[in-house]
């Protein structure tokens, strides 16, 4: 399905979006920032509180000391928040709580104040940290869906699987900063993962389970590379390898989902062009088939109308004893012509592959009887020995095609047997399935090979003086092939003629289920 999915790699891919979670700032600088922020706010708050201490009660002033805690823990997280809370409490205690300018706490209330400040720092920093994490995740998701959308668009512009794999490869290289290789699963395990046995094993796992495997994952985590696969339709798959020297750090689970999504998009895109190509092919074939069927039908109709006029017209003539013989000969000729024509059209259908099957349960006893009815004229004067066991099972076949086969086979047997020569028709049920044989009392097959016998216009060797074009057996062989039954011809063991056998494999022989429905 993936067709020409190429194996390709970009060496030394770029460093990119993997760093989204990390802050670009220097850690020392960050510490300095929060400490100075904390000191500044605490200084301001303390100053204001001292000035207002004559106006406001101590309990109200304590609220002001929440401000530095909220500010620092909201922006810088838990630890700076807790430290700021301690600093606030110390400052409150030292400058405002009597005894002033000592760190001694005289009142149990002040212990509570300190505890509240700690609790606020904890709550605010937690909340802020969660908000920050969510925002950062949302930012990352937005970037990722941009990337997926961009890849989907790029894939849409590619005309073949190789171009699509190249798109995926470039996107993955940019997104992961890894060296990437993308290949068709059928031929790329060895090419993509030859580095070490554990790599090969990880690659096989990724393909078999459609899970990310290899470096840093739970599955063969010590491999050098990371492997993932993407389905292409029901059968095919892409295999993708990511590696970066020895330094490939484990991918975060959320990133794994992301690169898997990218790979899946590529697999789906390749499947779509495969389906589109198959549909185009099918449509053109259907157009061709429809044209051929129409041509066959119109040809058959145009030929049949005058033929029908002749045969049916002759049939309706009043028989004048003086013309009786000529009339009979004309009728016989017209009938043969009609039969020959039907066979020619049938043969054209088989050759064109235009035989539509309608498989149903068929009783061979009935099928043989109907074929004999259709050949009343040819079989009227002959002794026909039927040997069909009463318990012959039904077969799965197309009743109309089987009828054609039997009529041709029995007609052929009549043609090559003497005028009053007998025929034998038998059905045998054995381990290989069902065998239906038609025995004639003609000259036998001579040395003609089976292939010649069933070729159109091919005829047995001993039959030069016989009428016929050799179309009958070609139709038998063509229809039999369409039905999945085999046909063979041999000389009778008693050398009294030829025997043709149709074999229905046991898969076509039906069980006795239908008997329960009687």
């Amino acid at each position: 399905m993936t067709g020409a999915a190429s194996t390709a790699a970009i060496i030394g891919g770029m460093r990119g979006g993997m760093a989204v979670n990390e802050s670009p700032s220097n850690p020392d600088y960050r510490t300095l920032r929060w400490i100075s922020l904390a000191m500044a706010i605490i200084a301001i708050v303390t100053g204001c509180s001292v000035l207002l201490s004559n106006v406001l009660s101590l309990a109200n002033l304590a609220f002001l000391f929440l401000l530095p805690v909220i500010g620092v823990s909201g922006r810088h997280g838990l630890v700076p928040g807790l430290l700021t809370a301690s600093l606030s409490a110390l400052s409150f205690n030292f400058f405002l709580v009597p005894p002033l300018h000592t760190l001694h706490i005289a009142d149990a209330d002040n212990v509570v104040t300190l505890a509240i400040l700690f609790a606020v720092a904890l709550a605010v920093s937690n909340f802020a940290a969660r908000l920050q994490a969510q925002a950062s995740l949302a930012r990352q998701k937005a970037l990722e869906s941009d990337t997926v959308a961009r890849l989907t668009m790029d894939l849409g512009q590619q005309g073949d699987a190789a171009g699509m794999c190249q798109c995926l490869l470039e996107t993955l290289a940019v997104e992961t900063g890894c060296t990437v290789a993308v290949g068709d699963a059928n031929d790329s395990i060895e090419t993509l993962a030859s580095a070490s046995p554990i790599d090969t094993a990880a690659a096989r796992w990724a393909l078999a389970h459609h899970e990310i495997a290899g470096r840093g994952t739970d599955i063969m985590g010590s491999a050098d590379s990371l492997f993932l696969s993407a389905k292409v339709g029901d059968e095919g798959a892409l295999l993708i390898r990511l590696w970066r020297g020895d330094t490939l750090s484990p991918l975060l689970p959320s990133r794994r989902t992301f690169i898997q999504t990218l790979a899946n998009r590529c697999g789906e895109a390749i499947e779509r062009i495969g389906v589109a190509n198959a549909r185009r092919l099918l449509e053109s074939r259907e157009r061709h088939d429809a044209m051929r069927d129409a041509l066959l039908a119109s040809f058959s109709h145009d030929m049949r109308t005058p033929l029908t006029t002749i045969t049916s017209g002759l049939g309706g003539l009043e028989v004048d004893p003086a013309n009786a013989e000529a009339l009979a000969a004309a009728k016989e000729g017209a009938n043969r012509l009609e039969w020959l024509f039907t066979n020619l059209v049938d043969l054209a259908r088989i050759r064109a592959g235009a035989v539509a099957l309608k498989v149903e349960a068929v009783d061979l006893t009935e099928a043989i009887a109907s074929a004999l009815d259709a050949l009343k004229r040819q079989t009227a004067e002959r002794e026909i020995a039927l040997n069909i066991p009463e318990d012959t099972p039904l077969v799965q076949s197309d009743a109309r095609l089987l009828h054609h086969i039997l009529v041709n086979l029995i007609d052929n047997a009549c043609k090559y047997s003497p005028t009053n020569g007998g025929l034998g028709i038998s059905v045998r049920h054995d381990d290989d399935g069902l065998a239906l044989s038609v025995r004639d009392s003609g000259p036998g097959l001579g040395s003609a090979s089976a292939k010649d016998l069933f070729a159109a216009f091919g005829r047995g060797e001993n039959v030069d003086e016989m009428p016929g074009t050799g179309l009958g057996l070609a139709i038998v062989a063509g229809f039999a092939k369409a039905l999945g039954i085999s046909v063979s011809g041999v000389n009778r063991t008693d050398n009294q003629g030829a025997e043709f056998t149709l074999r229905f494999p046991h898969t076509m022989v039906m069980s006795e289920r239908a008997r329960e429905q009687q």
Binding site: S300, H301, R304, T305, P306, L307, T308, T309, I310, T311, S312, G313, G315, G316, A334, E338, T342, V345, D346, K358, E360, A361, V362, D363, T365, E366, A367, I368, A369, S370, L372, D373, L386, I388, E390, L394, D398, A399, R400, L402, H403, H404, M510, R513, A514, R515, Q517, Q518
Partner: protein
């Protein structure tokens, strides 16, 4: 009594129409000809034929549609005139209400025989059931008894149902789908094997030579026909 009944002949080929008309006249029927579906519908309304012989390949409309429309008139038996290998269209036409088919090239005697059988149906509507007899077989549907040469035969309910379904329209082909629907119900219209098994069992009980059946005749890929 037959003389004077009108038959509608629908075929776009003038030669075939002439041929059919000649054969029908010889059988004592009057004929009306139509070359298109539209003409056929007009003719049916104007002349109220007792039967219509329809070729399915018409220039102006799908022949099957015409069959369905003509067959809506219960007093008109529709017969399809069709090529030997056109099994699918025969089955479709029969399931749409055609009562039988005649294969091209047709034999005049056979054509007239089929037509007589088809017309017999229309004459029988409303009559009380009476024992059906053919050869040495008698079906007493009031008593649900089948006798062969005077001896009562034991038939299973399905065998009896198949026999009566065929005997209701002696001489007419009944499609597999029609028989299966009548006997086993609409869910089983594709279970041809039930029918094959029942038909074989019935032949073993009723036919003088079950491997060369005279009465319960198989039409390959189409259905069954009861012949006397």
């Amino acid at each position: 009594m037959i003389g004077g009944q009108t038959i509608l002949v629908v075929d776009d080929e003038m030669q075939i129409r002439r041929l059919l008309t000649a054969a029908l006249r010889r059988g004592g029927y009057e004929t009306v000809e139509a070359a298109t579906a539209r003409e056929a519908i007009n003719a049916q309304q104007r002349f109220q034929p007792v039967a219509a012989l329809v070729d399915l390949g018409l220039p102006d409309r799908d022949g099957l549609e015409l069959v369905e429309q003509l067959a809506r008139d219960d007093a008109c038996a529709v017969l399809v005139v069709s090529a030997r290998d056109a099994t699918d269209e025969k089955v479709a036409a029969l399931d749409l209400g055609a009562v039988d088919y005649v294969t091209k090239p047709f034999d005049t005697e056979e054509l007239l025989a089929r037509l007589r059988v088809a017309l017999r149906r229309t004459g029988q509507i409303g009559k009380p059931p009476e024992p059906v007899r053919f050869a040495d077989i008698e079906i007493d549907s009031a008593a649900r008894i089948v006798r062969k040469a005077g001896l009562e035969m034991h038939l299973t309910p399905k065998e009896y149902a198949l026999l009566t379904a065929l005997a209701d329209h002696p001489g007419r082909v009944i499609t597999h789908a029609q028989l299966l629907k009548t006997i086993w119900g609409p869910a089983h219209t594709n279970d041809v094997e039930y029918l094959r098994v029942a038909a074989r069992a019935l032949r073993l009980k009723l036919e003088p030579d079950p491997s060369r059946p005279r009465h319960i005749r198989n039409e390959p890929g189409i259905g069954y026909r009861l012949c006397e």
